[in-house]
């Protein structure tokens, strides 16, 4: 039963129409910028170039993919009214939510990792020689689960959650890490950058702002991991409890 929920959600998220925009974004935008990044950052070494492309494109696209794909966990089912077929089956609601979340987050992590590979291939003109790629993939995987948990909870709490999620992905996650003081600790991206441990962008403030690296980030890798794991567990447990306890009806029917 759990396997069926998981595999159906994976297949749903890997549908050609869903995946192709992200592959296109990675294959054209990320790869294109990565191959020509020296134009924007003359004289920078390969590591700095990759770090800039990864922070500016790959990590922001991660939030965007997650905001959009996470809607398939629940919101899309509620909007399409197909939720009724799932809620009247002998499956504990928490399992339904958890395995769909798991599947969705893994797909998001895979798509984001492909973007990281494109960025690496563009900068290094191949797949070897990039010591940051593995750390980035780890950070992107943690990020997929963290954003997934957060957006899933938003989806449980609000109607039209996609708007809130996109605002968070584009607005909050871009602005907050650049804020002074300890505000940057309120962003998921800050912790992901702590896990990735990208090199500094140097004195280029514009690049730092685009990379969401203007704010203070003295978080260690282990603190980044621990914080994200606690964050994910708390949100998923809370979300599962909420989904089990409350009614979920198609919007117009509930009004």
């Amino acid at each position: 039963m759990e396997g069926a929920i998981f595999m159906q959600a994976v297949r749903e998220n890997l549908r050609f129409r869903r995946v192709i925009p992200w592959l296109f974004l990675g294959g054209v935008v990320v790869l294109g910028f990565a191959m020509n990044w020296e134009t924007f950052q003359p004289g920078a070494d390969k590591e700095s170039q990759y770090a800039a492309v990864s922070s500016i494109f790959v990590f922001h696209i991660l939030a965007l993919i997650s905001a959009i794909l996470t809607s398939t966990i629940l919101n899309q089912e509620v909007e399409n009214k197909t939720i009724v077929y799932l809620l009247t089956r002998p499956v504990p609601r928490w399992k339904l939510l958890f395995f769909r979340y798991l599947a969705c987050s893994l797909v998001v992590a895979a798509l984001a990792s492909i973007n990281a590979v494109f960025a690496s291939a563009g900068v290094y003109h191949g797949l070897s020689g990039n010591s940051f790629l593995i750390k980035d993939i780890a950070a992107l995987t943690v990020g997929a689960f963290a954003y997934g948990a957060f957006f899933m909870l938003i989806g449980l709490l609000f109607n039209r959650a996609m708007i809130v999620c996109l605002l968070f992905a584009f607005g909050w996650e871009t602005a907050v890490p650049n804020m002074p003081g300890q505000m940057s600790y309120l962003s998921i991206n800050t912790y992901l950058q702590a896990i990735a441990q990208h090199p500094s962008t140097g004195s280029n403030k514009g690049l730092a702002a685009l990379s969401a690296a203007l704010g203070e980030n003295s978080i260690s890798t282990s603190t980044g991991y621990i914080t994200m794991i606690v964050f994910i567990v708390v949100l998923v447990v809370f979300g599962a409890g909420w989904f089990t306890h409350f009614e979920f009806l198609p919007r117009e029917d509930a009004e």
Partner: protein, 305 residues
């Protein structure tokens, strides 16, 4: 199987169902009511999608809300016409079979079985997006029967089915009821449910107006004069002949001049006498209708009663 005790459900300031008390056991029971009467709300309460605001609702002695133990024994065919449109009918049913806890092989076999039962074997491999309304109804019914449930709830299941499909569907339900299963069918068409069952629950504006045998409700209706409109080429001769028949309360000519409108008591006796008049006295009738033989009139009579 289902016991409702003072069950009410509010949507904010709007009442969905109000103080429902009933018991539903094996066999086919029709849940009858006009649109907005609260049928779907009651079904959603029974299927555990909603919680009662007040009162106690039990299915198999258990609270149904989000309760897998209840869903193991319950099948539900919802009113909605929404599916995973990119799935084939077979894949859709197969997926729900897996959610019912069946292994892949058992799920596949059972999927084939129920798809065959609803007459969709040859069309089940097409995408649902291309299905007609009737085919969608059949697939919904198939998924409700997957796990051979003891209780099946069907919300407006005959919508979109052609006459042959309706007949097959009713026969199928009859067979399931004969196996001792409880089947609750909601509808807003009295004629439709009359062909399925004699056992009714009548909902009106959220309240349970009447429960029990259709005959009792029919006889209550029959205490009121029935309106009957008879279309004929010779209305004056028809009026003269009809005036001799029993139970006529009033009679008038239609404005069009080619019909007679009657009010009769005990319509069954009147219809027998009318048939005799047609046969014995050669009265020609072109059309025949009973404008108040519908659910709205039933509710009007019951409310007045």
């Amino acid at each position: 199987m289902i016991t409702a005790t003072n069950v009410s459900r509010w949507y904010g300031q709007v009442i969905g169902v109000n103080d429902i008390n009933c018991e539903i056991g094996p066999g086919i029971t029709a849940l009858l009511g006009m649109n907005g009467a609260g049928k779907t709300t009651l079904i959603r309460l029974i299927t555990g999608q909603l919680r009662p605001t007040t009162g106690d609702l039990r299915v198999f002695g258990l609270e149904p809300f989000a309760n897998p133990d209840v869903y193991r024994r319950m099948g539900y065919c919802p009113e909605i016409d929404n599916f995973y449109e990119h799935y084939t009918g077979r894949d859709f049913v197969r997926y729900l079979a897996r959610l019912d806890g069946m292994s892949a092989s058992v799920g596949n076999a059972r999927t084939d079985e129920v798809i065959d039962m609803v007459g969709m074997s040859e069309r089940a491999n097409r995408k649902i997006a291309g299905y007609s309304k009737g085919m969608r109804q059949r697939i919904k019914l198939a998924q409700a029967m997957l796990h051979n449930p003891d209780l099946i709830l069907l919300d407006e299941p005959l919508n979109g089915l052609d006459p042959v499909g309706r007949r097959e569907f009713m026969d199928l339900l009859g067979g399931l009821a004969d196996q001792g299963k409880a089947i609750l069918v909601s509808s807003h068409i009295l004629f439709e449910v009359e062909q399925m069952t004699r056992s009714l629950l009548l909902l009106h504006r959220g309240r349970l107006l009447a429960t029990g045998d259709l005959g009792v409700i029919r006889s209550l209706i029959d205490t009121h004069p029935h309106q009957i409109r008879i279309e004929t080429d010779e209305p004056r001769r028809a009026a003269a002949l009809l005036a001799e028949l029993p139970n006529i309360v009033s009679m008038k000519f239609d404005r069009s001049g080619d019909a007679v409108q009657l009010e009769v008591r005990e319509p069954a006796a009147f219809y027998d006498a009318l048939a005799a008049a047609v046969l014995e006295k050669g009265l020609t009738i072109r059309g025949f209708s009973s404008p108040d033989n519908n659910l709205e009139s039933v509710f009007k009579y019951l409310v007045e009663a």
